[in-house]
Amino acid sequence: MKIRNHKSLVLGYSLLAGLLFLACPAWSWTSSEAAKFQEAGKEYRAGQFDKAISFYQELLKAHPREAVLFYNLGNSHFRKGKLGEAILSYERARFYEPRDKDIDFNLHYARGLLEYRVEDKRNWYIRAGEQVLEKFTEEEVDLLGLGCYFLFLMGWLFCLFFRQRMPWGWKRKTLLLVSAVFLFLSIAKDVEIRVIRDAIVMTKEAEVRYGPSESDQIAFRVGEGIKVYVVDYREDWSRVLLVNGEGGWMRNRYLAEVRV
């Protein structure tokens, strides 16, 4: 292949890649935000959990993907006795920092205090799959997939530029296999996030009905802090599934989705 024939193409895409590279948002904390964070910690230590909550919520507007803020917010809610809010915050924290031990511990501990308990009756492979996916953020899975795909493409380019036949050896096969695994993980993660949306019950006791209206029969009730999977919507109703296989329709106002 003659690269000079595609000089403009190369230039164009290099420019695009450069723009993407530079276009990443700023993550850094401003000094006022840092001061607010310290202030929130001080209020928490002083037992002023309401104030701490408002500080953390304010900071989350500027940093909506910050696990530390969700974690501290979860602790503040926990101290206030709002288990549903606390669990929601821990779940959100875990969404962005899935391997953090403290988040896991507090989430597990808070769940242990719930009034309702739902037995997980799903198949072992679904549970195992969920556990694997929960250990990675969406970006991490995508990044791994992109990295493998990049190496795969570089191999092809090598072949095209130097007009050499790429050996179909085990290295290339492994790379392809790993890329495929990450691609699958990436798709699965995407499905988990966008199609089956996790949500937390935010009221003391919520009714789950057989249909999306008050005239439908109540199927069962769930308590605050229970995790459900939202699979469908109708105006102000959501169709939810529980890990024990039960499902039904629930008012949207009783639910808060984990993914903001």
């Binding site: 890649a17 530390v68 493409l153 095209l160």
Partner: protein
């Protein structure tokens, strides 16, 4: 790749048990390698690093040797900060012919793993036969590390009440063997016992044939029991018995001591024994002769024999739970009859110096599972467990032994302290009641010392003596007070975006590259197609050059311009029409164009006119006006445009 991945996975899974196996070791040793015929050789199999109960390994049949098991000894030691446990199994080998022999390798199963010892050479001289030194009855223990002198001899037998005489409980009273001239009875000395009480399982072989016992083909199934192989005499006792009017030779070929671990009803499957016989049953009249040369003497070894598999029927056993009534608070599950003694290595020590108590439990019962008497919390004494060793031996018709515990006391304060009485309780099944033994209280005088307290080197690794951390209450973990490091996120973000861009770019690049490669492949097969497809792009490239020439107003540039136009047009048309660029003539071109467009087509006329102009410019007097250059270019472009639409 699959093979490689498979190899890695297999290696990984194999590596785990390998790592565990590294701690386990099985070795064999002989007390001598040059012996006379009939002289005893003591073989010791030592298993180091094993956890839990290990059954005595069954030795394979060594040709030219009689073998018998004589007992076991176990030991837990702490040397150079490392704890180690070992079990020794003792055997006696008696050669009955001269020569050079290689014994082994001997296979020893520890858990699911099988270890092999190194083979050993033995030279047996034939000359003068040495008188066999038979072990005294009941004293068959030969530990490789001799115990202290005070404990070297087995204890005298404990007083046995008359009721304890074992009554034979044979399996399945109505059992009829396949061949009543040879059969095996597996029987227990008791059929109802208490939990952890010793029972003896005996295999009695009854035969009327010339018989040779060849071991077990299938080992007995005895889950739920702690098992100890019963040491056998060198010469298996034989006797003549009469059963249902027939005379048999009877021999007890194997004995196993069993200790049931829980109260329940058990079914013991005794396994399958193998024996070889000479077919004709012996008549009563020649019985004595048979008695003399049959069984284990090895005579008739080369005669024609037939193998027999002997399968005794299952045996039912009822195991009762230990009574709750009268159970002492310090009872730890020991069942049998025991004695206890204790000694202290010194009566006067310095502060923070260790003093060791040696506590010996001996008697009949499951010695291996005996637990050390509990030492109460002592105010000015730190207490540590040290070495433990045990030895098993036969005492009459039961297994007995001795277990020695070493307990280290370190006084932390000077003055007079007392090591209190230690209590050991056991259940005596003969008397059906609990008994409690105790050591005397030992006064110790502790002299003051400036030496700081230090855990003895040999004890510091003993995790079991350290207190375990216990969670008293649970709560959530504390908030984060530091802002997270943003650099890693930045790098990850850049990497993510960079890779996304690079991947999009590379995908397109590879896609176009592959297209181009495919096109080149097609062109390499069809050069006419290649010329046709590339004609336009090449012509356009030349037109760009012509455009730059159009801008020139010099008269001398007109002729080269039209020359270039001529070349461009001819090259383009010959490529499109697949004519040789070098051999093409004007007339052949005109014919081709006429066939495509027809004579009446204005473009055809224009092309002819353009050629005429080119000729005039090149070969005429040079009076072609510069304005004609634009017209020529226009015709050229129009020609290309029309030709591109023509499908041939």
């Amino acid at each position: 790749m699959i093979k490689k991945v498979g190899f890695i996975l297999v290696s990984f899974f194999l590596f785990i048990p390998q790592m565990r196996a590294d701690d386990l070791r099985v070795t064999s040793s002989l007390d001598k390698r040059n012996v006379q015929v009939d002289e005893e050789i003591h073989l010791t199999l030592r298993v180091t690093g094993a956890q839990g109960n290990i059954q005595a390994p069954r030795l394979p049949a060594f040709k030219g040797f009689d073998t018998y098991y004589t007992g076991r000894a176990s030991r837990i030691t702490f040397v150079n900060n490392v704890s180690s446990s070992s079990v020794e199994f003792s055997y006696v080998l008696v050669p009955h012919s001269a020569g050079q022999f290689t014994l082994g390798p001997i296979e020893v199963a520890v858990g699911a793993q099988v270890f092999r010892t190194d083979p050993v050479e033995i030279e047996v001289a034939g000359g003068t036969q040495k008188k066999v030194t038979r072990p005294p009855a009941g004293a068959i223990q030969q530990p490789s590390q001799p115990p202290p002198s005070s404990l070297q001899q087995p204890p005298p037998p404990l007083p046995t009440p008359p009721s304890s005489v074992p009554t034979r409980q044979e399996s399945a009273p109505g059992y009829k063997p396949e061949d009543d001239n040879i059969y095996v009875k597996a029987w227990l000395d008791k059929l109802t016992v208490y939990q952890n009480e010793q029972i003896l399982l005996t295999y009695s072989l009854y035969t009327r044939y010339d018989t040779r016992y060849e071991g077990f083909l299938e080992e007995p199934e005895m889950s739920g029991f702690w098992i100890e192989e019963f040491p056998m005499e060198r010469e298996i006792a034989r006797e003549t018995v009469r059963v249902d009017g027939k005379r048999y030779v009877k021999a007890d070929v194997r004995k196993i001591a069993l200790f049931p671990t829980a109260a329940a009803e058990y079914t013991i499957r005794p396994g399958v024994l193998k024996a070889s016989i000479r077919q004709d049953p012996q008549s009563d009249s020649v019985f004595d002769e048979f008695f003399n040369d049959s069984f284990f003497s090895g005579s008739g070894f080369f005669s024609r024999r037939e193998n027999r598999l002997l399968k005794p029927p299952p045996i039912l056993l009822v195991v009762k739970p230990l009574p709750e009534e009268g159970k002492p608070a310090n009872f730890q599950g020991s069942v049998g009859t025991f004695r206890m003694s204790a000694t202290l290595d010194k009566k006067t020590v310095k502060q923070n110096e260790p003093v060791t108590m040696k506590l010996v439990l001996e008697g009949e019962g499951n010695i291996e599972t005996l637990k050390q008497p509990e030492v109460p919390e002592l105010e000015h004494l730190k207490v540590y467990e040290a070495d433990t060793s045990s030895q098993l031996f036969k005492t009459g018709t039961v297994i007995g032994g001795r277990k020695t515990f070493e307990i280290v006391f370190i006084p932390t304060q000077s003055g007079s302290v007392a090591i209190p009485k230690l209590f050991f309780s056991f259940f005596d099944p003969r008397q059906a009641k609990y008994q409690t033994l105790f050591t005397p209280a030992f006064p110790v005088l502790v002299e003051p010392s400036d030496q700081p307290f230090e855990l003895p080197q040999s004890l510091s690794q003993q995790e079991i003596f350290k207190k375990e951390i216990q969670v008293e209450k649970q709560d959530i973990r504390y908030i984060r007070e530091k802002l997270p490091d943003e650099d890693s996120k930045k790098i990850l973000g850049w990497l993510y975006r960079g890779l996304t861009g690079a991947d999009i770019f590379l995908t397109l690049f590879v896609f176009f590259g592959l297209l181009q490669k495919r096109q080149e492949k097609i062109f390499s097969r069809d050069s006419a197609l290649k010329r046709r497809k590339l004609a336009k792009s090449q012509a356009e490239s030349r037109i760009r050059h012509l455009r730059s020439l159009t801008k020139s107003h010099h008269l001398q540039d007109v002729a080269p311009y039209f020359e270039e136009v001529d070349k461009t047009l001819t090259q383009y048309l010959s490529d499109k029409l697949n004519l040789s660029a070098y051999g093409v003539t004007r007339s052949s071109l005109e014919r081709e164009l006429e066939s495509i467009f027809g004579q009446e087509d204005p473009l055809y006329q224009n092309i002819l006119e353009l050629y005429h102009l080119c000729d005039e410019s090149r070969f005429g007097k040079g009076d072609v006006p510069a304005s004609k250059k634009h017209e020529a270019l226009k015709i050229l472009k129009h020609t290309i445009s029309r030709m591109e639409k023509v499908r041939r």
